[in-house]
């Protein structure tokens, strides 16, 4: 019986994976036609990006400040606080900015996407569109997917820059690391490659998080409880997938 439950569980997981994959292919097919209605996409960039700006900048500032403090603490033990700029920049660019942005995105924008689409499903709006021969995948799902996808790298870049100034605030103003050293060491050892790595990561996270959010909403059970459940699943799945992909991408870039 346990085996049967186990089998059911595994089968359910495989079914979910297949469902997401099929959804992705259908969504990608609708993305090009969706580009002909840029207004819808702009609206979604606003929802996912512009309205996440405050939380991203605030988090970036504090993450940068903590990095400055912890980095200083650590480097001081080896008598090389001059490397603080490098440490902060690499940490932010390659890891913290893409990952933390994706986690915040899942919580801030992903949940909104899922519950919005889920509620459309629950109130039969999606069905109504289908009856009117309006493809909801093209007019509802694809613009939201594209909006999230485009917003994520920009949010991560903003996070990095704000974080760097946070680290500088602590390192230079508070701890007294030389400002010129802070920036010149950073510029000397951070390459364009590191920037690219961070950006590739955040594009991939953007695809994953937006896809999960839209998929969960689109396939939510059309009840109040179903929408709630789908929203929870979005956050859990997005976070886990982000961290997993982060490991894979880091290994790939080494």
């Amino acid at each position: 019986m346990i085996a049967a439950v186990g089998n059911g569980f595994i089968l359910e997981g495989v079914r979910q994976l297949g469902s997401v994959a099929i959804f992705l292919v259908r969504l990608l097919g609708e993305c090009v036609p969706a580009l002909r209605r840029p207004r819808l996409i702009v609206h979604q960039i606003y929802n996912a990006g512009a309205r996440s700006l405050i939380i991203i900048m605030l988090s970036g500032l504090f993450v940068g400040m903590v990095l400055g403090l912890q980095g200083y603490e650590l480097l001081q033990r080896f008598g090389s606080v001059e490397a603080l700029g490098t440490a902060a920049a690499l940490g932010l660019l390659k890891e913290l900015a893409p990952v933390v942005t994706a986690l915040l995105f899942a919580g801030r924008a992903g949940t909104a996407l899922t519950s919005e689409i889920g509620l459309m499903r629950a109130t039969d709006q999606l069905t109504a569109m289908e009856i009117m021969a309006v493809d909801p995948l093209r007019h509802v799902a694809a613009p939201r997917f594209l909006g999230g996808l485009l917003a994520m790298p920009l949010l991560a870049a903003i996070f990095s820059v704000v974080g760097l100034y946070g680290a500088q605030l602590i390192g230079v103003q508070l701890m007294g690391v030389d400002k010129g050293v802070f920036w010149s060491q950073m510029q000397g050892s951070v390459g364009l490659r590191d920037v690219t790595e961070g950006m590739v990561k955040s594009v991939v996270f953007g695809i994953a998080c937006s896809l999960i959010a839209v998929h969960e909403g689109y396939h939510a059970e059309p009840t109040a409880a179903g929408v709630g459940l789908a929203t929870t699943r979005t956050v859990v799945a997005s976070s886990v997938i982000t961290l997993l992909l982060d490991y894979v991408l880091t290994a790939a870039f080494l």
Partner: protein
């Protein structure tokens, strides 16, 4: 229509900010030579070194450990095969003797290089466009170690390390 306008302005601002951040990351972080912002005030002095090690643009210039300016540029002089380092020194430190001595030093064990200036004794001071004649190059740790081991093995290797170090310092003082 009104709501639409705010939406478009908000999105525009967000995209602008995002691309500004991207531009900053791609041009300012890797040392690309593209610099934003007005150049800082100060006067410029050059110094020639045999070897600058891994001195970088932006590294601090210090006197008695106090930050007085920074390295503004490093270029190679193909005539006498030396590195020409241009230094920007804050205007308020305008009483540095002309015969001062510039050396490239290391911060900590793993730290970056910086330029230290030790004052000379002349009454005339360095001016904008001036030159520091007396310089000492960066100490390259590897060549120092090489020298030490070359010395050590030429002495037969039977010596204790302490003795070898002793010889080394004697050899140095003879020079």
């Amino acid at each position: 229509m009104r709501a639409n306008r705010t939406l478009e302005i908000g999105t525009g601002l967000f995209v602008l900010l995002g691309f500004a951040a991207l531009l900053f990351l791609t041009t300012q972080l890797p040392a690309s030579g593209v610099k934003f912002g007005a150049p800082k005030a100060g006067y410029h002095v050059s110094a020639e070194f045999d070897n600058v090690g891994d001195l970088k643009v932006g590294a601090p210039v210090t006197m008695a450990g106090v930050h007085v300016g920074e390295v503004e540029g490093i270029r190679f002089d193909s005539k006498d095969y030396k590195a020409v380092v241009s230094l920007r020194i804050d205007l308020r430190y305008n009483q540095i003797p002309e015969d001062s001595f510039a050396s490239i030093e290391t911060q900590g064990l793993l730290g970056g290089k910086y330029v230290g200036i030790s004052p000379g004794g002349l009454d005339s001071y360095l001016k904008d466009g001036g030159r520091i004649d007396q310089t000492q190059s960066a100490i390259v740790l590897e060549s120092l170690i090489n020298k030490f081991f070359a010395n050590y093995s030429s002495k037969g290797g039977g010596d204790s390390q302490g003795k070898a170090a002793d010889n080394q310092s004697k050899a140095e003082s003879k020079k």
